[in-house]
Symmetry: C2
């Protein structure tokens, strides 16, 4: 049976942008599993599957409903052990947790502010109202003000990616010679920015940009089915 | 046959301090392998095994000579597959490369300066001369000057450890429920500082300090056989 992925969209339902939903799209494609997507705007999330969760991604696989991108990857690994692995062993699972935390703090920490108002601009009016209110309360400032100054913060951000950049001297993917879920964790963040904003977080010629390009090419160019924001 | 580990020491041959040598000690103990250590000062390294390498750690295992901490861990994993794993699979190997880069940049980047002169103070005179000349040339300043101001840099350092700290919310080790080589990569850096300096890189009560304490307790308290510097 085809797996169903509920994923976050803005005004255009063909442009999913959530980093966590992209992790799951790539994970499903990595496993070679057929899936259909159900686009959901911010204000539609509480209505999914009779209020199954407060966040997306959510997948339905037959009787099973699974929430949270990491838990979904673990579920797919267990439910489809004969398909290509997302972790290549227990050590890969454990260390992917570190990659997840590093990504959340280092990359989301910068991009979450750097494209904050650009996200708002992608949303339908009802979702804009929700987004502005919830995010301005959480972040303690106006969306526009938080996004402003991103150029001043960008050099520090690029420098903070040095561990990833130096790792690419040794191997082409976090997963080694091929991608694993850890790659999708990091790539999800860059895809989020790519879909909502024309802002360039990475310098041209950065090996990380080349790596991200390789991720976008994977699975018949899955990540490129949504064009970069203009 | 007992494996021989050449490891870096200062004036006191009972106090090995190199982070990379500690990674290997823990890796050998993790595998349950017997090993003997050969203490080597900085100026003794070129003479090891007829000039086998320019750096330690080096291990001799029968006919095999292996250089570089990560390569030694890979060798042990392959040569002793029936012993407890250092990586728990290929994914663990690949992602340990990321942990290695992160540690080098984030932790060695701070500690290398913060205890630079303290290292010098642990060395015999001939090694002090070598160390001062080579390090001052590499780092472009006097050892004393580079170490000075470490208190001003410490808060930023502690903040930069947040990915590791947040990961410890999910699991007790980088390796998951038990330690893997990735834990020893990070712990080696803290052990380096602990052996050469009374300076406290971590705040009391930091979950990372508790994790490091757990690493020191492992393998019959291997890491505690060298007392902390006073």
């Amino acid at each position: 049976m085809t797996i169903r992925l509920y994923e976050l969209v803005g005004a255009d339902p063909r442009r999913p942008f959530s980093p966590h939903c992209w992790k799951v799209s790539w994970a499903l494609a990595h496993k070679g599993l057929e899936f259909e997507t159900v686009p959901v705007p911010f204000t539609g999330v509480p209505g999914i599957e009779s209020g199954a969760a407060r966040t997306v991604p959510i997948i339905r696989d037959g009787d099973r409903l699974v929430v949270d991108s990491f838990d979904i990857a673990l579920y797919l690994e267990e439910a489809y052990p004969d398909r290509p692995s997302l972790f290549n062993g227990e050590g890969g699972i454990a260390l992917s947790r570190f990659v997840e935390r590093w990504t959340q703090i280092t990359i989301h920490g910068f991009l979450g502010g750097a494209v904050l108002h650009d996200i708002h601009e992608c949303l339908a009016p009802v979702d804009q109202a929700y987004f502005r209110e919830s995010r301005e309360k959480r972040m303690g400032g106006r969306l526009e003000d938080i996004q402003a100054g991103r150029d001043d913060r960008r050099e520090v951000f690029r420098k903070s990616l040095e561990p990833l950049r130096k790792m690419l001297d040794v191997q082409p993917y976090l997963g080694g010679q091929g991608p694993l879920f850890a790659d999708y964790i990091v790539a999800g963040a860059f895809q989020w920015a790519r879909v909502v904003s024309a802002y360039e977080p990475l310098a041209a010629g950065d090996p990380i940009a080349a790596w991200f390009g390789r991720i976008l090419d994977l699975h018949d160019g899955l990540g490129r089915r949504v064009a970069a924001a203009a």
